[in-house]
């Protein structure tokens, strides 16, 4: 790397000397977006002769032939070129170190160079040429310490985003999202084109300002604002075609029939298929269920951004329409959104701003978490010997051989699960400047969400008892923030910013639902529920509130020594009196070594900074009312065919619940060399979370369920590295950025008297016998609990009989040596929490071409592959193996080395074992795109860019399932305890996108 840089540096500095005749030079200077630059200084090197460019970027200068021109402009890299005849086309690059970059830090902003916390900034240019449709895609792989996993590959599917690991077992580990100051906003609907910048606050000295909600890190999203001047319009359109990332290798119909017969014969029952049936399958084939449920899915997106304004008022308007079909039949995600940001300077002291964002999202059949009813699971469960439809065109409703549940095509086509989410996020604020440096910012915001559910299950997926339901819920969140900030530079050396905030937030949710069972007129679906044989209705309500007081001081001395201190006090309604309030302090220190003379003399670093921070943050992301025991509604029958409602006791409440809190210590270094061409950042952090909230299982004999409790402590520690450089800066400009995060997680202690606690996923209902996960002090979160698989019993093993087994049966580690394989032989068999993630983003430009290559990797963890387990071991809802690997099983006398168990009546297969635990590590080519800017000469005043890109085109992994990235879990509260289980989750798609962007 270094050599290349040196070599390139030499090339870059190579200067030609020519004869000294005078010549007239003219040219145009443009920025990276090919916009003309006004006021650029064009100087003849070592002469003092200089001119400036006009509004069209043009200049004329008389210089000696072969003379060197020095082109410089504020905010741009200075460039030297040899004077040439003809019109010179000169492009200036943005300066790598923008000295006065301002970053948003929560309740204020700060000069980037004054930051003491660990903050990652992502700007539009990092993703603008990639077909990203959500914030999660923007965050993925672009920031050290931020792990983004698509739990479901469906369009608009669930994503889990984790900043510096998982602090909480029970609580929600999602970061806190702030959009233009609105705390706890919904990020999923945001149109990435509206984003001006994203700041990820990672360490406690940065996040403690968000107190009880800051423990999981904070993502600050700032949307675009208008600029005074001519109206600018940008319009983009993109077309996508997507396919499932992989298909599994399954038995064809003839092989399946032969295998089923082999099993029948081996277990002493009559063969299921006749030879003539098998011959017929061999000749005519059967059903390829994967081909039946997956499709090539089109997508389209239109984006429009208009900005501009006069002297006092500026505006930005962004519109978006996205329609992405899923790779599973009848699944889609649609989004309409409109953002309007207005800023108005009402007087020289008072300004007003309104940010409004209105969006509607519609999803159908995108529920990605899988399980036994998932179409993906059923595509592997159904016999290839069964047709999709019967002779009269109706769905086949029974698979007589393998699956015991619904036809996967019917699951997709005879069923609709539609969710319509309409939301409005409006923020109104006023800033008043009492005196220079003293500002009061008062804002009020509301986030309104209206959620409509429309569900229908047709005859083929309801045992001919078609049903439908409607649900409606609205939630309103209100926020009032009062922020007083004072900033001043004393004596030119003491820079001080002090902030005091009072904030109140309330949340209320109100909903109802109605269901009709056994519809008389199924074709009317959810539009007419009145004609049904029975009904269910329900209503729900919840509320909570939060009151906060906070203060912060940022101080720097001579721009060398930096100190940040903050404190926040939060009160939450989710806890009982006495436990409601908690205080969250933090301190951050920075030392800008590059401002010290001894570093300056070294002449290596253009910037060098050491950082240290400490703070306490909290998590209260639990549902309201958990401190009280309540009843839940049930319906049951007392007269055949009818339902009566009653109540049963719910989970026991815990009135002693208190805040879960996280202490975090962070050390960081930021360095830049070669004038900013190479920059480096590294962080080490230690997080200690105490009073961990966990839903502790209650024994069934005491009513079962779980009780939310504060159970112990957990540590997360990790390293983060980011290297950004410009290895090539000639006609070809190559910018590369690599980030790496390494995470260690460990449960430190549990309450006295407890040496382990269990947590189940409920994903493997009917498949897993026991909770899959265990918390043991010293072990990481997401430790799998199960049996060690030792392969098959071989003919020479005399001990098989002690277990009632024969050669070819599964052999498990008998931990206690009692010749019985049961719960007493369970132990920790693996870990589901990824240990490292890295991302590598490259952008290369050459003339009018831009190439982007983005690679992401997640590694060091095990996945429990339930789908593979179910489809090869004939368990739960799948009665026969469908995976092609079954052909390599142990067959007495034929293949006695295989570790895939034989067909016997004595063998037992447990899915919760190392046999189905696989390395989930993967490296994925997330994006590769090529853009082309149409030459300006072809079009006047209009800038057109064409691009084509591919997403997820290549994945390197050992994982046997569809997609190592997706899991059957959601990002919600409590999900992180059960990591990385995959049972028919909605796989990611690989896609090709082509698009055009027009700017004028």
């Amino acid at each position: 790397m270094k050599k290349i840089l040196l070599l390139l540096g030499m090339l870059f500095c190579f200067v030609l000397y020519g004869s000294a005749q005078n010549m007239n030079v003219n040219g145009i200077v443009k920025d990276q977006d090919n916009k003309p630059l006004q006021g650029v200084t064009i100087a003849l090197k070592s002469s003092g002769v200089a001119v400036k460019t006009d509004a069209s970027g043009a200049f004329i200068l008389t210089v000696p032939s072969g003379g060197t021109l020095v082109i410089s402009h504020v905010g741009f890299e200075t460039k030297e070129v040899i004077a040439a005849s003809g019109t010179m086309d000169i492009q200036l690059k943005n300066h790598y170190e923008k000295l006065d970059d301002i970053v948003v830090i929560g309740y204020g902003s700060q000069r980037k160079k004054d930051l003491t916390g660990s903050v990652t900034s992502i700007s539009t240019k990092d993703f603008k040429d990639q077909p990203v449709t959500s914030v999660s895609q923007v965050l993925q792989g672009r920031s050290a310490g931020v792990q983004v996993i698509s739990n479901a590959g469906s369009p608009g599917g669930d994503v889990s985003i984790r900043i510096r690991g998982n602090n909480s077992i029970m609580g929600n580990n999602n970061p806190l999202y702030i959009i233009d100051g609105f705390v706890g906003a919904d990020y999923s609907a945001i149109n990435p084109s509206d984003i001006a910048s994203i700041e990820v606050l990672k360490d406690a000295s940065a996040t403690a300002i968000y107190g009880s909600r800051g423990a999981n890190g904070v993502v600050l999203i700032s949307t675009k604002k208008g600029r005074s001047g001519a109206v600018q319009v940008e319009f983009s359109t993109r077309f996508t075609t997507a396919k499932v990332i992989k298909k599994m290798d399954l038995l064809n119909a003839a092989d399946f029939a032969r295998t089923v017969n082999d099993r029948s014969i081996a277990t002493g029952i009559a063969p299921t298929f006749t030879q003539s049936q098998i011959d017929s399958f061999a000749k005519y084939g059967g059903t390829d269920w994967q081909n039946e449920v997956f499709r090539t899915a089109p997508g389209q997106e239109y984006l429009l951004g208009i900005s501009g304004g006069g002297d006092k008022t500026t505006f930005y308007v962004g519109g978006n329409y996205l329609d992405q079909k899923g790779v599973l039949l009848n699944s889609y995600y649609k989004r309409f959104s409109l953002r309007t940001n207005l800023n108005s300077q009402l007087s020289n002291k008072l300004s007003l701003y309104i940010n409004s964002f209105v969006t509607r999202q519609e999803k159908n059949n995108v529920n990605g978490d899988g399980g036994r009813w998932s179409p993906v699971t059923q595509a592997l469960a159904w016999s290839p010997t069964v047709p999709v439809r019967d002779a009269s065109g109706n769905f086949t409703v029974n698979d007589p051989v393998s699956s015991i549940t619904y036809n996967p095509v019917a699951i997709l086509l005879d069923q609709n699960k539609t969710e319509q989410n309409t939301s409005a996020n409006i923020l109104l604020g006023m800033k008043y400047q009492f005196a220079p440096g003293l500002t009061l910012d008062i804002s009020g915001g509301t986030n309104y969400i209206n959620l409509q559910g429309l569900n229908y299950s047709g005859p083929a997926v309801s045992n001919n008892l078609p049903g439908a339901s409607r649900s409606s819920a609205e939630s309103i969140s209100l926020q009032s923030t009062n922020n007083l900030t004072y900033t001043h530079l004393f004596n030119n050396v003491h820079r001080l910013t002090a902030t005091a905030v009072f904030e109140v937030q309330t949340y209320k949710n109100n909903g109802f639902s109605a269901a009709g069972n056994n519809l008389t007129f199924p074709e009317l679906g959810y539009y007419n529920l009145s004609q049904a044989s029975s009904y269910g209705v329900n209503t729900a309500y919840s509320n909570y509130g939060l009151i906060s007081y906070l203060g912060r001081v940022n101080y720097s001395f001579k721009d060398k020594y930096l100190v940040t201190g903050s404190v926040r006090r939060d009160g939450s309604s989710k806890f009982q009196k006495g436990n409601q309030y908690s205080t969250f302090p933090s301190v951050g220190l920075g030392w800008k070594l590059s401002e010290e003379d001894f570093i300056k003399r070294m002449n290596i670093f253009s910037s060098l900074k050491l950082r240290a921070g400490y703070g306490i943050t909290g998590s209260q992301a639990i549902n309201p009312y958990q401190t009280m025991t309540g009843y839940s509604n049930v319906t049951t029958s007392f007269t055949s065919g009818t339902l009566t409602s009653g109540v049963v006791l719910g989970n026991p409440g815990n009135e002693n619940l208190k805040w879960e809190s996280t202490q975090q210590l962070d050390f960081g270094i930021d360095a830049e060399v070669f004038n900013g061409r190479l920059s480096f950042a590294a962080d080490y952090y230690m997080k200690h979370t105490k009073d961990l909230l966990l839903a502790v299982p209650v024994p069934s004999y005491a009513g079962g369920g779980s009780m939310l409790s504060n159970v112990g402590a957990m540590d997360n520690s990790g390293y983060e590295f980011t290297v950004t450089g410009v290895p090539v800066a000639t006609k070809i400009n190559w910018t590369t950025s690599f980030n790496l995060s390494i995470l260690h997680n460990k449960v430190v202690s549990l309450n006295a008297g407890q040496n382990k606690l269990f947590a189940g996923s409920s994903v493997g209902a009917g498949l897993s016998a026991q909770p899959e996960f265990v918390l043991i002090p010293g072990m990481p979160l997401g430790s799998y609990w199960g049996l060690t698989y030792l392969g098959t019993w071989k003919a020479a093993d005399k001990d098989a009989a002690l277990y009632g087994n024969v050669a070819g049966d599964s052999k498990y580690l008998d931990l206690n040596g009692d010749h019985k394989i049961d719960g007493n032989d369970y132990h920790v068999i693996g870990h589901g929490l990824p240990k490292y993630t890295w991302g590598w983003n490259n952008t290369a430009t050459y003339k009018h071409f831009t190439l982007n290559i983005f690679v992401q990797a997640v590694g060091g963890y095990d996945k429990l592959d339930y789908l593979y387990a179910a489809a090869i071991s004939a368990n739960a809802d799948i009665r026969q193996a469908t995976i092609a690997d079954i052909k390599n099983r142990y067959i007495p006398g034929v293949n006695e080395t295989s570790d895939i168990p034989a067909f016997t009546t004595t063998g037992k297969n447990y899915t919760q074992s190392t046999r189905f635990l696989e390395d989930g590590s993967f490296i994925r080519l997330k994006n590769i795109s090529l853009g082309y800017d149409l030459p300006q000469s072809l079009l006047k005043k209009v800038n057109i860019k064409l691009f084509v890109s591919g997403a997820n085109l290549l994945t390197i992994t050992k994982y046997k399932g569809f997609d190592p990235e997706t899991t059957s879990l959601t990002s919600g509260a409590g999900a992180d305890v059960s990591q990385s289980i995959d049972y028919g989750s909605y796989p990611n798609a690989k896609s090709i996108t082509a698009g055009v962007t027009v700017r004028f």
Binding site: G545, T636, F638, T639, V648, S700, M707
Partner: protein, 487 residues
């Protein structure tokens, strides 16, 4: 400009003054806390809810084939040797593991109902209202608790005896109680239940005083055998069963004269007179999954969960009852069971006649009788004989009532008490084939080993030697992890 400033000021004062309420939880719509239930109708709602864990789908209780799995060690039931039936095979082959999910399904169903009953027995004392209504609710609650413990004690032997609904950490270290202690509670609960409940059922799926008496008779009968072995209970069993028989019209109990109607495969919203205690189901919302696909052969797109052992079928006396009990011709009558995939006869009793052919349902509205009037008759006959030196004429009459309906001749007269009692036990095996009765009879009479020694060549065999340890199910694994005292 000033207007704006005033507006801002006013708004901020408003937000601050509204703050006192922000930290108050407003549990609208939530039934929460000790005082959630204060009325008779609220108590009624808690009672109806207490039935639900006994039939909560595949999650808990008796709504799924878990109930068949736990009694599969008997000689009337077996399962598919391969397919996805590992957990059933464990039961049939006497190698049950503590991680088997079928055992935890039954365990949870019983204990969740017990918890809710314990709550009702606690809460009702604070409620003022119509005494007769409160008595009915409390009586039914006692019945449900006894019913649940009766299943637990028969399947597991020693189990925790929990009589409180309040969760506290002390519950994490309770020890198992002996069957004698469990039966003591069952008896006293049923004595309360028969005293408090009315003679008429409030709905076909609920219990009345007669149900409590019938259950108590069976409890006494069971206590007469292993492991309690208190022979004095036989007389109590006979007396209690006789009470029901003598008052059958009062409780609206009787034999359904038509066996074919009893097992018609069509839901009967009003039940039949034979229902002494029957769980009711609704295909939508609260389905019975034991009937339908679960009991049907793969040849007819069924699941092969359970079917009859061949020796049992071969010994079954021919006649009307055998024809109604079993289903032996598959694929529209073209395939005899001897040539079918599993080469076993299946049960006809639990099949469903669906209105729409092609949808062979696994979620049914079929009701599931757990105590039939026939049970009361046969309990009486056996107990009467075991309590005396010879069987009385009433005992003969009771057993003959069942035999006549089955199309069989009357029992040979003048049998010794023991021979008579054993004949009644055999009669129970035929009459209640597949109905979760045979296993308990074999256990109390210590005949599990003997009954499993006549396997047909095509039946699954026990994987080891059957001992008394195999009479009991292991405590579900997770329970022993949460409370090591239960190991």
């Amino acid at each position: 400009m000033k207007k704006l400033l005033y507006t801002i000021g006013a708004l901020s004062i408003l937000t601050i003054s509204g703050c006192s309420k922000v930290l108050q939880e407003n549990p609208n719509g939530q039934l929460i806390g000790e005082n959630a239930i204060t009325t008779v109708s609220g108590l009624q709602s808690a009672l109806l809810g207490a039935y639900q864990p006994l039939k909560n789908g595949y999650t808990s209780g008796f709504a799924s084939s878990a109930v068949v799995a736990v009694v599969m060690g008997a000689d009337d039931l077996t399962t598919h040797p391969a397919s996805n039936k590992q957990e059933f095979r464990e039961m049939d082959q006497f190698s049950v593991t503590s991680t088997n999910t079928r055992i935890s399904t039954i365990w949870l169903g019983c204990y969740k109902t017990i918890q809710n009953v314990n709550n009702i027995l606690d809460v009702y004392k604070k409620i003022n209202g119509d005494t007769s209504k409160i008595n009915q609710i409390v009586g039914e609650a006692y019945f449900l608790r006894a019913f649940s413990y009766f299943w637990l004690v028969r399947l597991w032997g020693n189990v925790p005896l929990i009589t409180t609904a309040d969760y506290n950490t002390e519950l994490l270290s309770v020890n198992k109680s002996t069957p004698a202690d469990i039966y003591k509670l069952i008896e006293s609960d049923l004595q309360q239940a028969e005293r408090l409940m009315p003679n008429a059922k409030a709905a076909p799926g609920r219990a009345n005083a007669g149900s409590a008496k019938a259950l108590l008779a069976e409890v006494y009968l069971t206590e007469g055998g292993y492991p309690v072995k208190d022979a004095s209970k036989y007389a109590l069993a006979a007396a209690k069963a006789k009470e029901v028989i003598d008052n059958k019209s009062k409780y609206n109990f009787d034999l359904n004269p038509d066996l074919a109607d009893l097992w018609s495969g069509i839901p009967k919203p009003n039940g039949t007179v034979e229902d002494v205690f029957t769980l009711q189901f609704s295909a939508t919302g609260n389905a019975n999954s034991i009937y339908g696909k679960s009991c049907m052969p793969g040849d007819d797109a069924g699941w092969d969960d359970y079917f009859a052992e061949i020796t049992f079928f071969n010994n079954f006396p021919a006649g009307k009852r055998k024809d109604i009990t079993f289903y032996t011709k598959f694929k529209n009558g073209t395939l005899d069971w001897t040539n079918s995939a599993t080469k076993h006869p299946y049960f006809s009793k639990f099949r469903v006649n669906t209105p729409t052919p092609g949808y062979l349902t696994s979620a049914t509205s079929m009701s599931m009788p757990l105590i039939r009037y026939a049970n009361v008759l046969l309990t009486y006959a056996e107990a009467q004989a075991r309590a005396n030196t010879s069987a009385g004429s009433d005992a003969y009459a009771a057993v003959n009532e069942v035999r006549r309906r089955a199309g069989l001749p009357d029992m040979t007269i003048s049998l010794s008490a023991n021979v008579f009692a054993d004949s009644v036990v055999q009669e129970r095996a035929w009459e209640f084939a597949g109905e979760y009765t045979r296993w308990f009879d074999l256990v109390r009479l210590e005949k599990v080993e003997e009954a499993n020694s006549h396997k047909d060549v095509n039946d699954l065999k026990p994987l080891g030697t059957i001992t008394k340890a195999n009479y009991w199910l292991p405590i579900p694994y997770m329970e022993t992890q949460l409370n090591p005292n239960l190991k």
